[in-house]
Symmetry: C2
Subunit: 219 residues, 2 copies
DNA sequence: TATAATTGTTAGATCAATCTAACAAATATA
DNA sequence: TATATTTGTTAGATTGATCTAACAATTATA
């Protein structure tokens, strides 16, 4: 069974993987806030345990088993976030730190009960998919708001970033998941967008923000 | 801030303390499932951090700060047990292992919300007192069933042992907290007791069991 | 009280997870 | 292509938590 530290490495590898499933040691180290030698030696030990495939000077890839284990940790994280929001009255900006801890609890029944009480949700409070109990992850197709065009109507479906600061920013503008936004205009100079939605006839969003908002195009 | 390991040592010291607040190294080691040298060196390090008072060849005592920290971990444990039973449908025999893990989560709001949702309970599912948020513990006065006399009517209020096996034993006899028992007879030879209660006109309980059942004498 | 049993301590090793310093390989750039 | 930059590796140290073996102090018992 993976230690908490190992689980965190697997999770990071899962999240950082490029389309080929590869992760650089330096990105891994940075993402976990450890030095490169630390990441390097941990990767070697993960390899010995069969969680990753690794060769000197090559990027790291998760094995099938590593991917599944990572997905199951992410499942616990996202179920916990949903539980905190839906059943315990937390704001979506408050749940990450707690979920980072609870995701390492070993107690299947605890998470099964959460799942049941939540009605088997498929996405978390930030629109990210919740892997199923076999570690399978559905791929949701959404595009970033930044890539949409003036005149389009879109529905906010997920976020690429769930930092408390960003979520506070969205709270202040009542930008919650499910909201329908109409794109009024785009500024060619800085790529900012002006949108309207229920209760907000005009809000201007910077490029940085638009890139982090994932939407489904309605029309 | 105490590590998970340190918190477990503080908790053990709190629970093992005799009326003078003293604990032997060997009892501590046994209770935590570690060797005596391990407990010994950890006690030295807890002393350096101000959690305990300790002198060579003398028993260990918690400092005021150590006692408070221990009580607050126990608070998290017992609130969690109550939450699992009352809000998540766990049986009282299933909650200990999960609570042993969740008690080490650092997230005040998580436990505050549990407390609120539970209506600020003062005892856990096994009748043990839940320390308040300052680490103060109420002393409940109950006596063991073993010390009661034939003819008395008593109410089951707590247990001195909450092992899953014992709780299963009680489940099988519908012996839940709050139940009123009438002591029908006691066997002089083996100190077993025969009692009656709602739906159970006659149940014989061994001395071992009677000692672990804490009751309030009604008449 | 002398001896045996229990309890506690010291010394030294191990393992996981981390670090810094120094160096080597791969990649980018002039 | 030669050189500089980035990325990755090795070596060696550190810290927390654990162990066993050996020994010492305390307590119980014959």
């Amino acid at each position: 069974m993976a230690s908490t530290t190992e689980e965190n490495y697997l999770k990071a590898l899962f999240n950082l993987a490029n389309p080929e499933g590869e992760v650089n040691i330096s990105d891994l180290a940075q993402s976990l806030g450890v030095s490169m030698p630390t990441a390097n030696s941990m990767v070697k030990s993960l390899q010995k345990s069969g969680w990753v495939i690794y060769e000197k000077y090559k990027p790291v890839t998760l094995t099938k088993q590593g991917k599944k284990t990572a997905a199951l940790v992410i499942r616990k994280h996202r179920l916990t976030e949903m539980f905190l929001v839906k059943k315990m009255g937390f704001g979506w900006e408050e749940v990450h730190e707690v979920a980072e801890q609870i995701e390492h609890i070993h107690a299947p029944k605890f998470f099964d009960r959460m799942d049941e009480m939540l009605g088997y949700p498929t996405i978390d409070p930030h629109g990210s998919p919740i892997p199923d109990d076999q570690g399978r992850v559905q791929t949701l197709s959404h595009v970033s708001l930044a890539s949409c065009l003036t005149g389009q109507v879109v529905q906010l479906t997920a976020l690429t970033n769930s930092s408390a600061d960003f979520l506070e920013f969205l709270n202040n503008r009542e930008l919650t998941l499910g909201k329908e936004l109409k794109i009024l205009s785009q500024e060619a100079y800085d790529h900012s967008m002006t949108v309207s939605y229920a209760g907000h006839p005009q809000e201007t969003l910077s490029e940085k923000v638009c890139e982090k908002l994932l939407v489904r195009v309605i029309s």
